[in-house]
């Protein structure tokens, strides 16, 4: 018989035929591998699909986001010049005046800070105010009636037809407000809207000078009007008049940015699931290759080259990876149908799930390339399998360095950096993420090795045989200790980190409501109301912690340049939002302030001007330092000031803090309102005080920090539910990795167990040995994960949130116990046959 061929390539049909023959009845050996990829890909595709869906729906429903083609806004009433400009723009126009105020429910004396929206005209032009009953969206405009936010009505048990008071005017509730175009349920949770007709606004008496009011004009233009051209044309005049504006495109861009951040975070959680899945891949392929060594050795013995045997198994792994990736992509596309439901309160558009081919392609590319690289790490060892395995059960392995291993490791680092950068949206973050993961991996491996050394050198020899055998298993040759520690430790680290970060965020706000910190703030107090308001607070047993005057003003010029000149200067670093300031005046620093440069209240030598103090961050924004001039337009009066000092302010303290503080003797006669800060000891006291204040002074509003805390808590709870939902993929994949790692050492355990049983060990002893081993492993791994998560969340609190770190230990302890319990359960469950069945039966089955 002639030799026709001496070698094969991966494209050779025989290699594919062998891969098929060899794998057709044993694909279940790669089931864990398949499962790891399915979960990782599903997480990636689900998040990306949801993100794509949202982008598409925002595009499709863009006009309903704004309810109009253009919105012009100002914090000042429009001047006659501005009114002429608005008239000149033409189109259909609708007006809205918005401000914060207190609502008072007559039925039960309930009060709460709300957003009053008084409208005139046919707004919204796109989309609709969704109300119950539906005709209320039109009928409330007739006057004397209001649309009240659905959630707010639920909170106070209000019904359509009840009476509410806004300022000094009473309204009948005309309908429940279910949805406002472009606003999410979460926005309404923070500041519930109440719509009234513009014709009733005057009679509320809430439009006092100094109130924080926003005036808006909504435009609907003819379809022929090119909004891009129009907005470019009017931009200079809008700036000149210091008017804010928003088009459909700019609203879309803003929304895209907000949701982009959330999706980038969720993408990262999905990517972590894939990364864990890839650990599972490496673990499963390692088990698979170990099982295939005899077959590989026979093939090598009868003439197959190393490359041929490698190609056969590479094809098998590649096919399973593709199957897993496709199944994962299908699962991810299915899951994303349910995800918008979880986020619906934050999404201002109706999300209609569709199959995103972009997400599928991206998910497939990322998961396939990563899975393949992680699979290659154990797979390349096939090339080193000696044909001597056919003659001997144990063959000393070829320990020579394999350059391909190094190449694959470098590729893995590069690919993880690139893909994580893609997922987060910034390459530098991708590198940072990869470095952080490498540090966590490295630390867990280090802890595992230290633990093994500690157990080997330090555990008492006098302990019972069962304990000694169990602990010796941790450092025996070919142990899986590092792999198990890595999978359990990393999973625990992710779960605990997510929890602690959420807890830190909640606590950051909760600090405001603790101890002797102020927790109730009254604002919009007019000068002639301040003394009576103060007495009212004191009469109810609450202290007046602070009472501060506030004067609203606009910046007119900085260092000799007018704001118009600054806006035109393309090199200017002064942000566009720098316009209106709410300043106070006093002659002393508060305990939240520290002077960084200049001097508080002392005139600069040789100058006789108004010396102001500017907060450090604002000074950087305005690009001013001590001695520079700033001109303020104090409600029509131009006031030239000199920066006398730069201050650092602790903004986390609950009290009125200011960017700019004037000295006394300058602003006393300017139009102003007051803020009063107090502390109440109970929710009932808070409600009584607010009710009394609103009844006596309907224009005064109150911010109840406890209510804000509950609201933020509710929002974070919802967001964290989504994050936890995505983290489930990571946790699920972590368990797959764990099962894979336990299976890896199964055969070794069988051999030991059979030997021990032959020597007379009873089932209970074998089970105890395995139980102790898994208990020890699970405990150390979970402890490593918890400690690393505590360190990580401390770093986040210290460096990112800049907040005191006070982690809650009990939930971490619960996670620790659960993880350890699960590790012991899985370990014992997977190896349950070993201790239950007769030794020979086990051996026959396994060999």
């Amino acid at each position: 018989m002639n030799s026709k061929k001496s070698h094969f390539t991966i494209t050779d049909p025989w290699i594919w035929k062998m891969a098929w023959r060899d794998g057709r009845h044993h694909w279940q050996r790669l089931f864990l591998f398949l499962l790891s990829i399915v979960m990782g890909t599903a997480a990636l595709v689900a998040i990306q699909s949801m993100s794509d869906n949202l982008k598409r729906d925002i595009d499709e429903q863009a006009k309903t986001l704004l309810g109009a083609d253009l919105v012009i806004s100002s914090r000042q009433p429009f001047s006659s010049e501005v009114e002429s400009f608005i008239d000149s723009l033409g189109g259909k126009q609708s007006r809205e005046i918005t401000f914060a105020s207190m609502i008072y429910f007559k039925k039960n004396n309930g009060t709460r800070l709300i957003q009053v929206k008084s409208v005139e005209g046919a707004f919204p032009y796109y989309g609709a105010l969704e109300t119950v009953p539906s005709d209320a969206a039109g009928s409330f405009r007739q006057g004397g009636r209001a649309l009240v936010d659905h959630g707010l009505m639920l909170q106070f048990g209000a019904e359509v037809g009840d009476t509410i008071t806004l300022g000094s005017h009473s309204f009948v509730i005309e309908g429940r407000l279910q949805k406002v175009p472009g606003e999410s349920a979460a926005t309404q949770l923070v500041s519930p809207p109440v719509y009234i007709s513009m014709r009733d606004l005057e009679s509320t008496n809430l439009m006092k000078r100094g109130s924080r009011v926003v005036h808006r004009v909504y435009f609907k233009f003819d379809e022929k009007v090119d909004m891009d051209v129009l907005s470019e044309e009017i931009k200079p005049r809008l700036r000149a008049y210091q008017l804010g504006y928003e088009t459909v495109e700019s609203r879309k861009a803003n929304l895209g940015k907000v949701f982009g951040d959330l999706y980038r975070y969720l993408n990262l959680v999905g990517f972590i699931a894939l990364l864990l899945g890839c650990l599972g891949v490496a673990s499963a392929v390692h088990v698979f290759i170990n099982q295939k060594i005899p077959t590989i050795a026979v093939l090598r013995c009868i003439g197959a080259r190393a490359k041929d045997t490698f190609a056969i198994h590479l094809i098998q792994v590649l096919c399973i990876a593709m199957l897993g990736a496709f199944l994962g992509a299908a699962a991810g596309s299915a899951i994303q149908i349910f995800l918008p439901g979880l986020l619906k309160e934050f999404i201002p558009v109706e999300v209609n799930p569709y199959v995103s081919w972009n997400a599928i392609l991206r998910g497939l590319t990322i998961s396939l390339s990563m899975a393949l690289l992680f699979a290659l790490l154990p797979l390349i060892s096939i090339r080193k399998v000696s044909p001597l395995h056919t003659l001997r059960s144990t063959v000393s392995e070829n320990n020579s360095r394999d350059i391909w291993r190094g190449v694959i490791l470098v590729l893995i680092v590069a690919v993880v950096s690139i893909f994580s950068g893609m997922q987060i949206g910034r390459w530098s973050y991708g590198i940072g993420f990869t470095a952080a993961m490498a540090v966590v991996f490295g630390l867990i491996i280090l802890i595992a090795k230290l633990m093994m050394r500690l157990v080997k050198t330090s555990f008492p020899r006098s302990w019972s045989y069962v304990w000694r055998q169990a602990l010796a298993n941790l450092y025996r040759p070919h142990n899986q200790t590092v792999m198990l520690m890595l999978s359990i430790g990393l999973g625990t680290f992710l779960i605990v980190s997510l929890y602690l970060t959420q807890d830190t965020l909640i606590k950051q706000i909760a600090i405001a409501d603790s101890g002797k910190q102020p927790n109730l703030v009254f604002f919009d107090i007019q000068t002639d109301q301040q003394e009576e308001a103060e007495q009212m607070v004191r009469s109810m047993g609450a202290p007046v912690i602070q009472k501060v005057p506030i004067v609203t003003m606009r910046v007119a010029a900085i260092k000799g340049l007018t704001m118009e000149e600054i806006r035109k200067d393309s090199n200017s670093t002064v942000p566009r939002w720098v316009q209106e300031f709410r300043c106070t005046y006093r002659d002393t620093l508060t305990n939240t302030e520290t002077i960084l440069s200049g001097h508080w209240g002392r005139p600069v030598v040789g100058q006789d001007s108004i010396l102001i103090s500017v907060e450090k961050g604002m000074a950087e924004n305005l690009n001013v330092s001590v001695g520079d001039t700033i001109v303020f337009d104090v409600q029509g009066v131009m006031m030239t000031t000199i920066v006398g000092s730069i201050r650092e302010v602790n903004w986390r303290r609950v009290q009125p803090n200011f960017f700019v503080v004037f000295p006394t003797g300058v602003l006393e006669s300017a139009p102003q309102f007051w803020v009063l800060v107090t502390r109440v000891t109970s929710a009932e006291m808070s409600a009584s005080l607010q009710q009394a204040m609103v009844k006596r002074f309907p224009n005064i509003s109150a911010v109840d920090l406890a209510l804000i805390l509950r609201t933020v808590d509710a929002i974070l709870e919802k967001i964290s539910f989504v994050i936890r939902f995505m983290a489930l993929f990571s946790i699920g994949t972590g368990f797959v990795v764990l099962i894979g790692a336990i299976l890896t050492s199964r055969f070794q355990r069988i051999q030991e167990s059979v030997l021990l049983r032959t020597l007379g060990a009873v089932r209970k002893q074998i089970a105890r040995i395995m139980g102790i081993e898994y208990l020890w492993l699970g405990s150390f791994a979970a402890l490593s994960g918890c400690v690393l998560a505590l360190l990580g969340s401390w770093a986040l609190a210290f460096f990112v949130f800049d907040t005191p770190y006070d982690p809650v230990i009990m939930p971490v302890a619960v996670v620790f116990i659960l993880i350890v319990g699960l590790t012991v359960f899985l370990g014992m469950f997977i190896t349950r046959d070993i201790s239950r069945k007769p030794p020979l039966e086990v051996l026959r089955k396994e060999t």
Partner: protein, 231 residues
Amino acid sequence: MSNILRVQELSKSYRSGSRDLTVLYDVSFSIPGGSTCAVVGPSGSGKTTLLGLCAGLDHPSRGSVHLNDTQMDLLDEDARALLRNQHVGFVFQNFQLIPTLTALENVMVPLELRGESRADLPAQAWLDRVGLGDRMDHYPVQLSGGEQQRVALARAFINQPKILFADEPTGNLDDETSHKIVELLFELNKEIGTALVLVTHNLELAQLTQRIIRLRNGKIVSDELNQGQDN
């Protein structure tokens, strides 16, 4: 008849902890084509090590092995695999069939590795020859020990190798099955004209070969022609 296998001053050492452990010392012998030879010796005498080195499954520490006039230790792993595919057959104590392939597919593999497109026809013929024509589609786990060893024989002979290495070919079989396998092995050997190197503990089996090499502690202690067999 020219020598198909020439072994010269072959030594093999392993690193065992901090010291070298030599398991084969300066072994030299030659095997003429078509002849039969048994390597016998107690456990640990170096029989399996010698077989591995002769078949190019392992590297010698010193000395050389020439197989079909090619010096094996100068070849890399893949070249040695190719040489085995062309000239060497194997029969193992534990059969070493690939568990995921059917009997037919197991026999086809050596030819397929050569690039033969219709390996199924000769493989079927060989399975018929070893009496397993009706069990071609069975997997190893569905076959008895004797049947598995027959499949292994068919796989070993399908290449018409110039030399066949058999490592305790009856070690895992009962007496009756052993007898049948041995008969078949020698019959095929004669038919194909393959040189046979048999590694065994079994002196009865060794007596069936033309020459017996005895190993002890890694050294050849005797190398004798077997008077009872034809040369």
